[in-house]
Amino acid sequence: MDKSMTINKNLLKWTSACLVLGLLFISCKKDEIISPEPEKEIPVKTEGGTPYYKLQRIENLVVETDDANPTVPPTAVLFSLETKAIVPLLYAKTNRWDICFNGLYNSFLSSNNGQSGTSLGAGSTGTGAITIIQKPFDQVTDIPADGTLSITKTIGTDDEGDFGEGIGWYLYDFGGTKRGDGSYDKQHVAYALPEKRTIVIRTAKGDYAKIKMISCYKDAFTADKWFRTTPHMYFTFEYVIVPKGSTKFEIK
């Protein structure tokens, strides 16, 4: 009798605990999804914390593309430099993501800023900003002044190539004659410019990162391996993230 009572009691305890947990979980989830007020945002718990001061490499971050309809605006892709992962669009209005890959072939990068009318994070608590520096990654050691970062800018095609939009991270070779030999296979190739371009971003939470865009082609990290039909868009890039208030991009 006593025994079965204890078992029952224990069972009851467990069941109620599970129920409560379940409820908590559900309510948490709901909060996250709706979360119209910024103060309700729950920061992502990153295992081991934000990976500060270490060189990070993301290989072949794949973004769906449709070569049959290349100018139809694709779905934006959000990425967190803190968790090193794609963030569902559901979280666009939160400070959980740092870079938005948007526009043509998802090749235009922008930041997460709640004050920017054009950012996907408009209205969020994101304090992001972005710029591009005409130097290779290793030479960018000082964090540029906040005044030189833009909350609205998108960074994509470079004016050195065709259809450039200012200074960008890649050169688009329309006719295949700028970097290629003019052959069919070298036409319409997008050349990342890691040798002379570095993106600097202030993250949604105010940290700083410098980013070397290396390629948008699958498993092909150098220009000799890039052709019209090489599978794309598979973003490969390296970055270093340092905490809010830093003045240097240090690797420790």
Binding site: T71, G103, D159, F163, G164, E165, G175, T177
Partner: protein, 242 residues
């Protein structure tokens, strides 16, 4: 009852007559329709129609009668509508770094337009003598009555007027990589501050011959530029043309 009476009156003859009248009316309507280039005239602006770009060049895929090579850049001067070709190093040396041009039509199909700016490294006039600035105004040409402030010009990040890969870009046309057809974006006017401090406005209208409202035929003759501009000669910011 009255209605039935009326319907009865619609004999074959009347119908034919009505149809005839309608056709005549429609025909005359069509005649009254203004020439697409005539509506561009406002009595003040300079309207350039079908200015031939590099029609001999082609990008890839052997088009008969065209050479596979990059498009030659041409320059354009506002004050006398002079078109200047840059085909070789000698042309470049003679013209690019001078103040003798206002617009450079570069890139595929001459579709990427620069103002003359010595300070931007990819500008054809880089290292030269001219300092211009350009801004995108998202309004129709006729409604632009005033040039923006100098601070706005100074802060401009528009390096070139070309392809708009998205609605957020500053370009003058959308280009479908699928159909390969260019389409000017409505309500885009470019305000320009010229090297001599004068203000101007510019609308790029078409790259297809005859300024058709839309093109479905990939082989429609191109590039033939239609555009209009106005330079305020008195140095004021007044850009009213209508």
């Amino acid at each position: 009852m009255k209605y039935t009476k009326y319907t009865c009156r619609f004999t074959k003859k009347t119908i034919t007559a009505a149809l005839l009248l309608l056709t005549v009316a429609f025909g005359s309507c069509k005649k009254d329709e203004p020439d697409p280039n005539e509506v561009l005239q406002d009595g003040k602006s300079v309207v350039i129609t079908d200015l031939a770009g590099d029609t001999q060049a082609a990008m890839g895929s052997g088009t008969p009668g065209k050479e596979v090579r990059p498009f030659y850049t041409f320059l354009f001067r506002f004050r006398d509508q002079k078109q200047i070709w840059i085909r070789n190093a000698a042309d470049s040396a003679q013209w690019l770094k001078t103040k003798d041009w206002d617009l450079a039509f570069t890139g595929p199909y001459n579709s990427e337009v620069y103002v003359n700016d010595k300070d931007y490294q990819y500008n054809p006039g880089f290292g030269g003598m001219a300092k211009s600035a350009v801004l995108l105004l998202e309004q129709s040409y006729d409604t632009v009555n005033q040039a923006p402030s100098d601070q706005t010009f100074n802060a401009s990040e528009v390096t070139k007027i070309g392809w708009a890969s998205s609605a957020a870009s500053n370009g003058w046309f959308f280009y479908s990589l699928n159909t390969h057809i260019m389409q000017a974006i409505p309500n885009r006017t470019y305000a320009i501050r010229l090297p001599d401090g004068k203000y101007a406005k510019l609308q790029l209208i078409n790259a297809y011959k005859g300024n058709p409202p839309s093109v479905t035929d990939l082989n429609w003759p191109a590039p033939y530029y239609t555009f209009k501009y106005y330079v305020q000669q008195d140095g004021s910011k007044n850009l009213q043309t209508k």
